[in-house]
């Protein structure tokens, strides 16, 4: 659940989602759920010539299982906090 909470803290920020079919979509993170499905608003496709069907789409839902990477705004991520949370979670799961 750590990454779910983490992504929830990034709602409203601009992210780039890279999919397993090599499509990269840049947009504002609108919502996320427990499967890490994400909804993006105001999207732009990095390579529109290769994916012309995305030209008429503004908001989209992406299934979590097809996401390869999510590029985050570096200054919005508190890595120290994330590390601590990861340690805390691992201690919890061991108990």
């Amino acid at each position: 659940m750590l990454f779910y909470s983490f992504f929830k803290s990034l709602i409203g920020k601009e992210v780039v989602v890279e999919l397993k079919n090599d499509l990269a979509i840049c947009g504002t993170l609108h919502s996320v759920d427990q499967y890490l499905n994400v909804k993006l608003t105001d999207i732009n496709v990095t390579d529109p010539d290769k994916y012309p069907h995305m030209l008429s789409v503004k908001n989209c839902f992406i299934r979590g299982s097809v996401i390869r990477y999510v590029q985050l705004p570096a200054d919005e991520v508190d890595t120290q906090l994330l590390q601590d949370a990861a340690r805390k979670e691992s201690v919890h799961s061991r108990q």
Partner: protein, 149 residues
């Protein structure tokens, strides 16, 4: 009266369990959506039903084929899409659609264009596979999203 309230409560509980599963695809119900599938196909249809796995029912659906700057639609009727083959569900923006630099053509035209494109691609893949083989390598074609990638 009580019955009605009970029904409402049940509906609310149901909404809650569904809403927990999916980043609110319920908001998109009865809208015309563009669905990209794992094999690379693109469907456009009216979303009539959805569940926590993103299984979908699309009504009046068409399959949209793009070749270069042209596109064409093939009528497909009602579609039940299994959730695990869904890549992306997009809301079609009328304004963006109008200004997209694409030209709509007839179904036959786009099918012919697609056939030619596939032939060229197959030929290129065969050439590459041959070149890779001569060097003792295995060439994998770029396809959609399969189970192992």
């Amino acid at each position: 009266m009580d019955n009605q309230r009970n029904n409402q409560n049940q509906q609310r509980a149901l909404d809650h369990t569904i809403a927990k599963g999916c980043a609110n695809l319920l908001d998109e119900i009865d809208k015309r959506l563009l669905v990209v599938l794992r094999d690379g196909r693109t469907l456009i249809g009216i979303l009539r039903s959805v569940d926590q796995f993103a299984n979908l029912v699309l009504q009046q659906s068409v399959e949209r084929i793009h070749v270069g700057d042209k596109y064409g639609d093939i009528p497909r009727g009602i579609f039940l899409v299994r959730g695990d083959s869904v890549v992306l569900i997009g809301e079609i923006d009328q304004q963006k659609e109008r200004y997209a630099p694409l030209k709509r053509v007839e179904m036959e035209v786009i099918l012919e264009a697609q056939r030619i494109e596939q032939e060229i691609k197959a030929e290129r893949d065969a050439r590459r596979a041959q070149a890779f083989k001569e060097r003792g390598l295995l060439y994998q074609t770029e396809a959609g999203i399969t189970e192992d990638n």
